[in-house]
Amino acid sequence: QELEKIFLSKIDQEIKIEPKDWMPDAYRKTLIRQISQHAHSEIVGMLPEGNWIGRAPSLKRKAILLAKVQDEAGHGLYLYSATETLGTTREQTILDLHSGKAKYSSIFNYPTLTWADIGAVGWLVDGAAILNQVMLCRTSYGPYARAMVRICKEESFHQRQGFDILMALSKGTPEQRAMCQDAINRWWWPSLMMFGPHDSESTNSEQSTKWKIKRMSNDELRQRFVDMIAEQVKVLNMTLPDLHLKWNEQTSHYDFGEINWTEFWNVVKGNGPCNKQRLDARRKAWDEGAWVREAASVYAAKRKARAEKKEEKQIA
């Protein structure tokens, strides 16, 4: 009880919880779940964008996209490390993804069908992610918060790159403009779903808010996102596919239509267009990489043994 008091008072005083500090089991579990889910999202998120690396329409765009997807791998690394500070291993965390036990953001279960999708993913998906991540820079668990600070810097860069892709399309040929609008139409609703269910339906939210893991509610973040995008889309001379979208003078926010929650839950359950494909791709990479990882660790052991032998000799 004493320990819990200390823990809660730290939370109260906005002192970060660190790996060696005592923390409630549920806090630890919640964090492991959330951070690993976040890590998996970075890794699985490489796939839809990776789909266009080979076909990027210019060398410059190819380099930017490649670097971006690489950044996501880096984010995955930071986050897997953060989960390891909570007493799990990267391998176990990854196996939980492959077995379907751990989730990742459902948005990555939609296919990238045209080049414009790469722009839309950057603008909308990274845009939604950032709002969440900015909030998480102030999360109560130290390693997570620090990982988020690093990630946020790169992520806002990504969002601008995504917007830039769409900007070029919006100024382009009629085919390019159509491609741009089409991608926005397909990615808009799934992006809104990224913030999760309504606050009233969100099971984990309350406790997370108390522990200052979360610092804003799903609906608050979603509203912020809509307000931001509804303005930016004007710059593109495009529209969002929502007839209910309208500026509300009273609330000083945009009103918007209701999300198709059946689709949301369905994709979460594994029935999105690409759930199987994404998991299969990750499992394949992992399984086909097994011999490489094994060779590396056997070699490292050999080397160490040799070095020790040498040392012994030198001492002797």
Partner: protein, 276 residues
């Protein structure tokens, strides 16, 4: 006339970098370990960077020579606009690419990718070192900038060759298989194409045949540390020697390249009027 030689020579260097970048980038998101996914992507990015500098230089040469007839494979469409890095990278057909056969070979498994990178980076290292002395200031500058990157590529791929060769039995065998797959494509690196000979004569190019002894020595060194059998003597009619394939640098490729191009060029071909 010098412009023409310079054009082909530089295009050859650019195509090498682009094709290997394209191949390596297929690993992005599918690597065996996250750290190595990042590493191979890094190499890919370096190579794209090199390709871009080189293509930009070629584009400049082509556009400045606009008064004389443009060389074949100028990469422009009919009624040509100006050449750009992208028109050069994306708008030629298979016979016009001048990359060596090695870089267009499929990724295969990690061992094959590693060994391809090792052979190529080691070659590129020797090449760029010599290119520092090029009478062409732009080429020398590109070489200088690239050399730092390539130094890292050599180190990284050498370490992996050693790790796989001296790792498990499986990794050792896979590396031996990769050797059997790829060795035949290494001879071409050191057999100068017509434009390379001209480039040497003109003073701006590197005599690739002279790079061979050092390359072979380094390969043997690393192979020995990796407990791999020495690669067989290359080339020619020598008894027991492995035949060395060639042709890529003169545009006679393996059937692989056509498929790379279909993917690489899709957008530029499908939307000829568009800017991206």
């Amino acid at each position: 006339m010098t412009k023409d030689k310079l054009y082909n020579y530089t295009l050859h260097l650019a195509d090498n970098a682009l094709m290997l970048a394209q191949r390596n980038s297929e690993w992005c998101g599918h690597g065996p370990v996250l750290e190595q996914d990042i590493a191979i992507t890094n190499i890919s990015l370096d190579l794209i960077g090199q390709a871009r500098s080189l293509y930009q230089y070629v584009a400049e040469l082509v556009n400045n020579a606009a008064t004389s007839t443009p060389p074949a494979g100028g990469g422009g469409r009919e009624g040509a606009k100006e050449a750009t890095e992208d028109s050069l990278a994306y708008l030629r057909d298979v016979r016009e690419y001048k990359n060596c056969l090695l870089v267009e070979q499929p990724n295969g498994d990690w061992a094959q990718t590693i060994l391809r990178q090792f052979f190529f980076s080691l070659y590129q290292y020797g090449l760029y070192q010599q290119l520092l002395q090029s009478t062409d200031a732009t080429l020398a500058a590109i070489a200088e900038k690239s050399l730092k990157e390539v130094t890292y590529h050599v180190r990284w791929s050498s370490e992996w060759v050693i790790r796989l060769g001296d790792g498990t039995e499986e990794s050792h065998n896979r590396l031996e298989n990769a050797l059997e797959e790829l060795w035949t494509f290494t001879g071409e690196l050191f057999t100068p194409a017509s434009y390379e000979l001209e480039a040497v004569k003109a003073g701006f190019g590197v005599d690739v045949s002279a790079l061979k002894p050092e390359w072979e020595q380094k390969v043997n060194e690393i192979f020995s540390e990796a407990t791999l059998s020495s690669p067989p003597a290359g080339g020619g009619g020598r008894e027991g020697a492995v035949w060395m394939q060639a042709g890529g640098k003169e545009g006679i490729h393996t059937e692989q390249l056509g498929y790379i191009l279909a993917e690489l060029q899709y957008m530029q071909r499908a939307y000829p009027e568009a800017e991206w």
